[in-house]
Structures are given as C-alpha cells and as structure tokens.
C-alpha cells in the first residue's frame, strides 16, 4: 500500500511537468477542506458561447455554487477559453477578439491585469485557438485554408499553418512560427481532403505534437476520411514541421475544447473522434516525432459499446477518464457518459454517472487520488441535478464516484473546473 502510494506520487510529479491539469497534486491539501485554495468554475449561459462566466469556490466537495447574480462575465466576442497556472493566474483567450488576458482573483473578485492581442502575429485573424502546454507557455495556433484552382482537380485548398509561443505569466511573444504551407500529401489527395484545424498541442522532450482535423474539399462528397494525423514541430523553436499519419484508427485528433492528447510516461497519447459506430475509438501513441506502430488500445472493443470522444483527462498512473458519446444512446440531449480507461492494462469501464452532454466540456481537476468533473444532465421540464462528481481514481468500480458540490439546474452549462 505504502509502496503503491509512493509510486503514485512519483507518477503524479512527473505528470505535473507535462500537463496543467495536475498542478495541485503535491500541495498535500484536500479540496474538501476550506484551505483558501481557489477553484474557478466556468459556465456558458443559455447555449450562448459569448455568455461565459467564471465563479470561484474553495470547496468542490460540498455545498452549492450558483451563477445567479454571481460570477465574472468573460464577455468574449465569439467564445472564451480558460486556463490556470500554479501561481493563481487565470488566462482567458477571447476567440473572435484575438486577445489573451491574464486575470487574478481575490475573494471572488476577478481583475484583468494584462492582455496581449495576438491577431497580428497570426496574420491578422482573431479566430485562432489557444492552448496552455505547460507552466511557461501558451501556444496560439491556426490553419487558414484558401481556395486554389488545381488543374484537372477543380478547386482544392491551400492550408497555411500559424503558431506562436507566448511566455506566461509575462504574456510576451517568445517565438513565432514561420507560416507553413502544408503541401498536399498522398493521403490527402486520395481522400480529397485537407487539414483544416490543429489543436490539442502536447510537448514531449524537444517536440510539439499537434492533433489534426481534416475536412473534405467538398463537404457533401461521399468519401470516408481515413487515418489519424499529427503535425510535429521542434520545440520551442517552432521549426521543422512534419505532417504524419497512421492508419491504425480513423478520425480527427484535434479534439474540441477539452484535452485530447497527453504526454504520459515518455509517450504522447492521442485519441480519434470516430465518425460513425463502424469506427473504433482508438488510443495511439507517439514518440520521437513518429507514431508507435507497435502499440494501440482499441477502447471501443474494451468497453464493448460504440462511442466517440473529443475530450479525456489523465488522472495519473495511466488512469484516464474519457467523455464518451454513445451512438446508441436513447436521449439525444443526454448521450454522453464517462468511461474510465487504464492505458497500461487496456481496460475500459463506464462509470455510473448521469448521462449528459459533454461535447463542449473543457477541463477537470485532479487532486491527489480524486478527479473532479462537472456533469450537467439536461432535464425534462427542468428535472436535472447538475453537480461536480468526484471520481476515486484508484478504484475500478463503476460506482467509485460520489456527488460533490451542486450546480445551477437550468440553462447554464458548467464547462470546466480550473
């Protein structure tokens, strides 16, 4: 028992260097106790991406939190992304406005202390995506694809990739990637497709791995997109880009607003978003800028039920929690559940939590041996009981989850705990 705990601590420490969700493991306090540690709850109101609020709490395990007359309006132009660091800074990216802000929070009062407008280094567009990759850096990236006439093939796309490296908490440009024209690859020509989005960047050693979303030139064409893809760059120089592929799984790897790639124990793990029930949700891994063609984890097979995902979180020790949209779910408003996967033993179980909508879910909190996640079922005539659910990371029992702090029941969706 002692041995396993020690091992567990080492795992957590190493993980802390690679992704932000693990920032608090080593401070030894329990979130149930009111220690003054502040958590930020982000919520979107009325299905409106531009009405996003942050409210703070010291306790995720009991009581309740309401956004009624409470919370800081992030007031983004189109939508907002939120990250936190270990020094109590909150970073907000205003998608559509193009500015990355740093906020602080004291006694529930949020103050904007700094901001940087990244549109200029992104070629002039404010519709770009951010990602905090470690305690020193937030990356901003984008693909801008323009139509070009390809002789004999009609209109095809010329994708240009942008990326910039921003130092935090200073919010200053560290380096700018030279805009990279992604040349059409064999597989893109065959699929009549192009990379239209990069996201979920993950750093391992001296490389950065970007998940890639692909799209058909003609959205209505009846062509199945095959393979899983990654763009690899040297880090931190943002040079030497490479666009790679594996055929072990099929689907986009960029995720959506939550995490979709993690560096765990020397590998970068990546999941696909299955386009249909015929495609399995696969976990693959990369190292040294290449896919590990000798390793795969067919999660669909392990679970025995078809689903897809766009966000999953590492709770340490190879245990991950994955939001899963089931193709056979009966209630279209609540077709997402949570599954626990063990990447070393290649097992998957569905956790006993209410079905909800986790499509746009952004962030969980992992502290010690607990993972905290907000689950907000959409109710019938208002009958829903959104709450923060506390998962016991060490247990592989589907019932090893308890209900913590309760949230507003209604047309407000809690999309992350930061």
């Amino acid at each position: 028992m002692i041995k396993s705990k020690l091992f567990y601590s080492i795992m957590l420490l190493s993980a802390a260097f690679t992704f932000s969700a693990c920032e608090d493991e080593s401070n030894g306090t329990k979130p149930g106790e009111d220690t003054g540690k502040t958590f930020h709850i982000g919520a979107k109101f009325d299905d409106d991406d531009s009405q996003v609020f942050l409210a703070s709490t010291n306790n995720l395990e009991e009581g309740s939190l309401s956004f009624v007359n409470n919370g800081y309006h992030l007031n983004p132009v189109r939508s907002a992304r939120v990250f936190t660091d270990n020094s109590d800074n909150i970073y907000v990216f205003n998608y559509g406005g193009g500015d990355l802000q740093r906020l602080t929070c004291t006694d529930g009062i949020y103050t904007k202390v700094d901001d940087i407008d990244v549109t200029n280094v992104m070629g002039g567009t404010a519709h770009v995506r951010p990602w905090k990759i470690n305690e020193e850096t937030i990356l901003i990236h984008n693909i801008n694809a323009e139509d070009i006439e390809d002789s004999g093939n009609g209109v095809i796309k010329k994708p240009l990739m942008y990326s910039v490296n921003i130092d935090i908490p200073a919010l200053s440009i560290h380096s700018t990637m030279e805009t990279w024209e992604i040349e059409p690859t064999e597989w893109d020509i065959e699929n009549q497709a192009y990379p239209f989005r990069v996201d979920a960047p993950t750093v391992l050693d001296n490389k950065i791995y970007y998940g890639v979303g692909r799209r058909l030139f003609d959205g209505d064409a009846d062509i199945k997109l095959t393979g899983m893809h990654t763009i690899v760059l040297d880090y931190p120089s943002l040079t030497n880009p490479k666009y790679i592929r594996t055929e072990k799984g099929h689907g986009n790897t960029n995720g959506y607003r939550g995490e979709n790639m993690h560096a765990i124990d020397g590998y970068v793990y990546q999941a696909n978003r299955a386009a249909s029930a015929e495609d399995a949700t696969m976990l693959l891994r990369l190292q040294d800028g290449e896919y590990d063609e000798d390793w795969e984890f067919n999660i669909t097979e392990a679970l025995g039920r078809a689903f897809n995902t766009n966000n999953w979180y590492h709770a340490g020790n190879g245990i991950c929690y994955m939001s899963a949209q089931f193709f056979d779910a009966a209630d279209e408003n609540n077709d997402w559940g949570v599954i626990r996967i063990d990447i070393y033993n290649k097992t998957a179980i569905q956790m006993n939590v209410p079905m909800s909508d986790l499509f746009g879910y952004q962030q969980v909190k992992v502290i010690d041996d607990k993972m905290y996640m907000a689950i907000s079922p959409v109710g019938t005539s208002g009958a829903s009981e959104p709450a923060i659910y506390i998962f016991d990371v060490n247990s592989d029992d589907p019932d090893a989850v308890t209900k913590g702090m309760t949230l507003d029941s209604g047309n407000i969706f809690v999309e992350g705990i930061y």
Partner: protein
C-alpha cells in the same frame, strides 16, 4: 412643355431664383372687442399651407398666394374663429383689421377645422404619433433625429451619418418594426434611399404606429410601423405652379448635405412634375475615447535587437482618437411626372428614383479592431406608378393603385491584408507570417442583387357620413441572389436565389358615431407568405440546384377606437393580433452565412394592446397644458431568436422559436405652451419586458424566466424648451431657440440575472442639444444652427460603440 422642362432644369442646375409674379400680400392686425391687440393668433389661408402667427402687437403679413380669391382664417385660444374672404382682383396688397370675439365658455361647439393631417391621424384611435416634419425641415437634422423625439421610439445608431440604425418601438425591434416610404416597404428602395439619406425637406410627416398597424400598410409589422410620407402636389390648384426649395448644410466632421426640390404644374392641363435631389457626405471622423480604444505597441524588437516585452500590449487605453475610416456618401434623384386633377384621375404619376451610397466601415459590432479599408456600396433604381381617383364610377368610391419595380445592389468589399491601429496607421507585418486577407476575419466581395415588385390596390366606399368600408391588397415579391467570389467553394452561393412573395389582403370597416365623438375601425388581415429558395451547390465539377418551397397562411385582426369625452379629453384604444412572418434564410438556411435550416419555424405572433388619451389639462387665453399618454401591452409568442448550434466540429446559426415574451409599458408626454411663444415638453417612457418561457426546447429550466429582456432601453426621459419670437429685427422675421435633453437609463446588454462582475452594460446617458433658427423677413430664407451633445459626453446606443461627441451644423434653406 418642352420649354418648361428646360426652364425647370435650368432652375435646378443654376439655382438662380427668378421672381416673376408681382407678390400678393395681406397686411393685417388681430384685435379683441376692446381693440387690444391679440398676439400669437393663428392666421392662415384655408386649404393651403400658408400661415403665420400674429406678432406681439397683433400684426401679421401673409404673402405667397397663387389664387385670386382666398379665405383667410384667424383664430386664437379663447376666441371664436373667424373666416374672411379676400379678393386680390383689385389690388395685390390688402390691409385688414380683424376683430375676434371672446369664446363663450361652456359651449361645446368648438371644432378645430384646420387640423393638419397629423392631427387627424392622431385622432384615428390608433396608437400613432404623427410627426409633422415641416417645422423641422429648415434645421440641420437627419430624419433619425426627428424620429428620436417620438415617445416610445428609440432610434439606435452605431455612429454618425449613414451608420447602421435600428428602431426599438415599445419593446419591439429588428424586423418587428417595419419602415415604409409612402406606404411602400423601405427595403424596396435599397439601403441608399433610407432613413439615413432621405432629406427632411422632402418629407411631409412621419407616422409612427405602435403595435397596431392599419391595413393600408401591407406588411407583417409585429411591433409597429413607421410610414414616411413625402410631400404631395396639390391637385386642385387651377393656377400654374412653379415652386420649390433648396437647402445646404455644413457641419462638424466635414458633413455636407444638400437638397433641391422643384415642383411644376400647369393649371390648365394638369401636367405635373417634380424633381428632387439630395447629396450627403460626411467624414464622420469624430473622436472616440471609450475604454475600447486600446493603443498597442507594435514594435516587435527594441532598438538593441532584443524582443520588446510590450509588443502587442496595451500602452494606452481610452485615449482620444479620430475615426479615420468612416466616411459616408449618398446621393439620389427622383423625378415624378404625370397629371393631377383630371376628371379621370386625381393623380396619375410615374416616378423614377435613383440613388447610391458608399459607406466605410470603421469596425465590427464592437470597437475592438479598427478597419482601414472595408466598405460597402449600394445602388438602386426604382420605377413606380401611382393612380388615385376619388368618386370613381359612383360617388364616394375612392380607388388607388400603385406599383413599384426596383433593382438594387449592395456589395461589401474587404480584401486587404493590411491591418490598422487606432491612429489609422498600417501595423507593420510580422516577418515570416503570411497575412490573411479580410480585415473582419474573412475576405469578402459579397454582392447581393435584389429585385422587388410591389403592387398595391385599395378601394374605399363611404356609405354615408357614419360608415365606410375599405379593402386593400398588397403584393410584394422580393428576390435576392447573392454571391461572393472570395468565399470558400463549399460555402459559396453561386448566385443562389431567395424569393419571398407576400400577399396581404385586408378589409377595414370604419364608423363615426355619436356626433363624431366616437370613431371605430375594425379590420382583418390575411397574410400569404410563399418562401422559395433555389440553392446552387457545387458537387465536384458540376453544379446542382436544390429547390425549396414553403407556403404559409396566417390571419390577423384588430380594432381601433377613439372617443372624445369632451373637448378636453380624448381616449384611444387599439388592439391587434399581429404577425411577423418567417423569411427564406431563417427557414431554409443559408450556406454562406452558415445558417442551418429550420423548416418548422413558426411565425412570431403577438397580441398588441394600446390604451391612451389626450388630455387638455389646462387652457386659458394664454397658456395651454396638455398630456398625451399611452399604456401598452405586447404579448408575444414564438419569439424568433438566432441560436448557435454545434454540429460536428463547427458551430452554425439556427433560427428557433424561443417562446413567450410579455412587454408592458407606459409613455407620457406633457406639453405646456405659453402664448405660442414658449413651448415646454416633458416626456417619459418605461418598459417592462419579461421572458416568460419556463423551459427551453431541450427541457432545461430557463434561469432567465421572468427576467427583463436584455439589450433594450427601458427607462428614458426627454425634455425640451423652445422659444419663438417674431419681428425681432425686422417685421416678418422669426426666431426660434430650442433646448433638447434626453436621458437614457443604463441597460444590460446580456441577461442581467447571470453573473455580477464585468457585465456588459450600455451606460446611463444624458445628452443635450441646442438649436437656433432664424427666418429672414422675406420669409423665404432660413438659417439654422444646431449644436448636438453640447457637453461632449460619451454617447452609446449599442454596447461598446461610441457615437459622436459635441458637434455643430448650420443649414441654409431657401424657398422659391
């Protein structure tokens, strides 16, 4: 005829005024039974627009006659009205002493005969404010400034001349409020002939119908209608007429506005023509200094070659900068030709209306990123025919028919790869970073081509003094095709067309009862709305056309009633079940605007009720205090809202019925007049608009249930004082000095119920304007100066978009 037109064009182009007829004048004095002068008596010629007020010593001068015989009407509060026939056949200059008898209080027979059309409309029972624009035409105002003074109507603008305008009317806005020009939907004229550009001197009056809209205005006006009535030619004049006016104004921000109107009519043949032209230009380079104005450091490297830590950061916020890419230019000409006053036609006119405009766009929906090159252009050509005949075939049957065909085009141009800072400088590009074209995010060369057919017919039969029946039919077919060659192939429209064919038929039964004290009208409307979309999609190297079609039938009905309790109190009541029809993009979606189809979308429906009154609170020989008030209710179901849905990895817009909204409110206006010299006005408006749908479509509870509707001004107040004085320097001159204050209480941009920090709020504002206008003794020339927002306060109608600060403009008008 040819010569006349030539002469007429000569007049316009040279703007040299020739006064040929010897002028007929009446010099007179108004006195009471004791021979004391009666100041400020109303003196005018019956059935004309010629009139004045007597000065302090009771004297007056009237000129400008075309007839040989006229009836002079003289009246003053507290005195019995007097009519005097005047004959110019012997002399061109008549001298008169007019004695008025004191009115016997208690007699209930004072009937104000010379009421303007505006007054008549205000008596119809409809909740309508009819703004008589004529007194304002000499002032350097935009139509929007005039409308803004209407109780219950809030004109919300994004900036200076030519900026985007939305109307909030008693808690309804957007497409719920329809604008008409002489009864024709304003969309038909294109954006270049609109409330932004149309000169005030072309307008007779503006009728603002709140919630309940008469059948003649054939459109789906859920929340009300604004009908701009342009000046008509008088068909009953047997004399030759040649008259008109010209004005020119210059003001802050290099604003120039000019217009010329010339009317010509041959009394014998009834041949009539009119030419009106306008030109507007403004740099709109007013200063803005709100917190949205952020000056950033664009030096990537410091002089020593190291990275600048402040690169792209805010170095100054809220500094005063001039808008640098906001110019607006519009111009237009309208020519009417036809006959009036014929046996077979009271009016038969053909008109051609040409206009175009150009508007630079300084920023998007908020003042975040300044644009330096994006602009829009539009142009319109409209042909129309109008026929009117009273007593057609049989007595008391009035028939009118009109039709308009218009072609308009609007384009948006944004292809630059330059980016600008708030000083109007190009931001240096970053080495190695390929700039993305399009300042607003995506490059565009979007062109909308619109084709519009409007036909309207109406007939009214007057059974007797008490009863009349009218029927109306309107046909409106609107065809829009759009294309944007810069757009991504899979989103491109390839000239897809959207067609809306609206047919609205209605009948109105009107009665005048109880010795003209009670006026009722009952009406019913039938709406047929046919939506069609022909969508061209590229599929590989071929193009497929998809056809969509949805017909829709709806009924509406209503009533308006007006009761004159006594000569001091009039009560108005009106009610309508109103409809806001759905349109093609909302129902079938639009690929290039990323709107997905919503084929089950229901029209918005609302029960609108008004109860109001006009109260003469106090009246004596010298002063008059009156109160105009209206209580209103708008109970709206199936409110349509644009929502965002996520499908795959992308988000799209979809139009959905979100449910029930209930708005109640009150507006009131107090007017106090002293001897027609002073006029004080106080106006207040309060709106309580609540969202009343408990559950959203997916079953979750609406936390904003019963919340106040956001982004809607709900508490406003206006006050004005004006002073008139005649014979200041010379007999016959006239001066008016006015002060106008408006207060708007702060309102939330988003739902107020959620969150409590950093909430977007449109702040409380208190704006003051002053004006002075002087009419020269020749009564033809007026010079007016208006100073707006004199305390240079930050003004906002919309969240984070600052309007102009202090400005001044002067206008010179000449009537010939």
């Amino acid at each position: 005829m040819k010569n006349s037109i030539f002469l007429f064009i000569f007049y316009i182009s040279s703007q040299i005024i020739i006064a040929n007829n010897p002028e007929k004048t009446i010099n007179g004095k108004v006195i009471d039974e004791d021979n004391n002068p009666i100041p400020f008596a109303n003196v005018y010629i019956e059935n004309s627009t010629i009139g004045t007020n007597s000065s302090v010593d009771g004297s007056f001068i009237l000129s400008d006659f075309t007839h040989k015989k006229v009836i002079l009407v003289v009246k003053s509060i507290g005195y019995t009205e007097k009519k005097i026939p005047v004959d110019f056949s012997k002399s061109n200059s008549i001298l008169l002493n007019i004695k008025l008898e004191e009115e016997k209080i208690g007699l209930n027979e004072v009937v104000v005969k010379a009421e303007t059309k505006a007054t008549q409309i205000n008596k119809s029972g409809f909740a309508v404010t009819s703004v008589d624009v004529k007194p304002l035409e000499t002032r350097p105002l935009e139509l929007n400034d005039v409308l803004e003074q209407t109780p219950g109507l809030k004109v919300r603008r994004d900036g200076g001349l030519g900026s985007q305008t939305t109307f909030n009317l008693n808690g309804m806005s957007g497409r719920a409020v329809r604008i008409f020009i002489d009864g024709v939907p304003m969309e038909s004229f294109g954006s270049s002939y609109s409330v932004n550009s149309i000169p005030v001197s072309l307008i007779e009056r503006v009728d603002v119908y709140k919630g309940v809209v008469p059948v003649e205005l054939g459109n789906d006006a859920l929340g009300g209608a604004i009908n701009i009535v342009t000046k008509q030619l008088n068909p009953n004049d047997k004399k030759n007429i040649f008259n008109g006016n010209a004005s020119y104004q210059y003001g802050s921000f290099n604003t120039h506005r000019g217009d010329v109107i010339a009317n010509w009519r041959n009394g014998k043949s009834g041949l009539t023509s009119r030419l009106s032209m306008f030109y507007n230009y403004s740099d709109n380079d007013y200063k803005v200094w709100s917190d949205e104005i952020k000056i950033r450091d664009y030096n990537e490297f410091l002089p020593d070659g190291s990275r600048n830590p402040n690169y792209l950061k805010v170095v100054e916020q809220g500094v005063k900068v001039r808008r640098f890419h906001d110019a607006y230019k519009s111009k237009g000409a309208k020519f009417d030709m036809g006959v009036t006053g014929k046996r077979w036609a009271d009016q038969l006119l053909y008109s051609i209306n040409l206009s175009d405009d150009y508007k630079e766009l300084q920023h998007g929906p908020r003042m975040i990123k300044p644009y330096g090159e994006r602009f829009t252009e539009s142009k319109t050509i409209a042909h129309s025919i109008k026929y009117l005949k009273k007593d057609l075939f049989i007595d008391n049957l009035t028939f009118s028919l009109d039709g308009q065909y218009s072609l308009s085009q609007r384009s948006v141009v944004d292809t630059t790869t330059n980016n600008y800072n708030w000083y109007g400088e190009i931001i240096p590009p970053v080495a190695g970073v390929t700039p993305v074209p399009g300042e607003a995010g995506t490059a565009t060369l979007n062109v909308d081509d619109n084709e519009n057919y409007v036909a309207r017919a109406s007939a009214q039969y007057q059974f007797n003094q008490q009863h009349s029946l009218g029927v109306n039919y309107s046909y409106n077919r609107y065809v829009r095709s759009s294309d944007d060659e810069m757009q991504a192939a899979e989103l491109r429209n390839y000239g897809s067309t959207n067609t809306i064919t609206k047919q609205i038929a209605g009948a109105t039964y009107q009665q005048i009862l109880l010795d003209e004290k009670l006026r009722n009208s009952f009406f019913v409307k039938y709406y047929n709305n046919l939506l069609e979309q022909h969508r061209i999609e590229q599929s590989g190297s071929t193009y497929d056309t998809l056809n969509f079609r949805r017909p829709d039938d709806n009924w509406g009905y209503g009533a308006a009633s007006s009761y004159e309790l006594n000569d001091r109190v009039r009560i108005n009541f009106s009610i309508e079940k109103a409809i806001r029809l759905v349109n093609t993009n909302e129902v079938f979606g639009n690929v290039s605007d990323e709107i997905v189809a919503s084929t089950d979308l229901e029209p918005e429906k609302s029960m609108n009720v008004n109860l109001g009154g006009i109260f003469a609170l106090h009246r004596d020989g010298l002063t008059e205090l009156s109160l105009t008030t209206n209580l209103f209710l708008r109970d709206t179901y199936d409110r349509i809202r644009r929502n965002i849905i996520v499908s795959g990895d992308d988000s799209y817009s979809v139009f959905q019925n979100i449910g029930h909204v209930n708005s109640k409110g009150i507006e009131a206006q107090l007017d106090y007049k002293i001897a027609q010299k002073w006029h004080f006005m106080l106006q207040g408006y309060y709106l309580d608009s609540r969202f009343l749908e408990k559950y959203s479509s997916n079953g979750s509870e609406n936390l904003n249930y019963k919340s106040r509707e956001p982004n809607m001004p709900y508490l406003t107040a206006n006050a004005s004082a004006s002073y008139n004085l005649g014979d200041l320097f010379r007999q016959g001159d006239f001066i008016n000095i006015a002060w106008y204050s408006s207060y708007i209480h702060e309102f939330d941009f988003d739902w107020s119920i959620i969150g409590n920090q950093n909430k977007p709020v449109v702040p409380t504002q208190f704006i003051n304007d002053v004006s002075i206008s002087y009419r020269f003794a020749n009564r033809r020339t007026t010079l007016a100066v208006d100073a707006r927002n004199i305390f240079n306060t930050m003004a906002f109608d919309n969240f984070a978009v600052q309007k102009p600060g202090a400005s001044i403009a002067a206008k010179f008008s000449y009537r010939f």
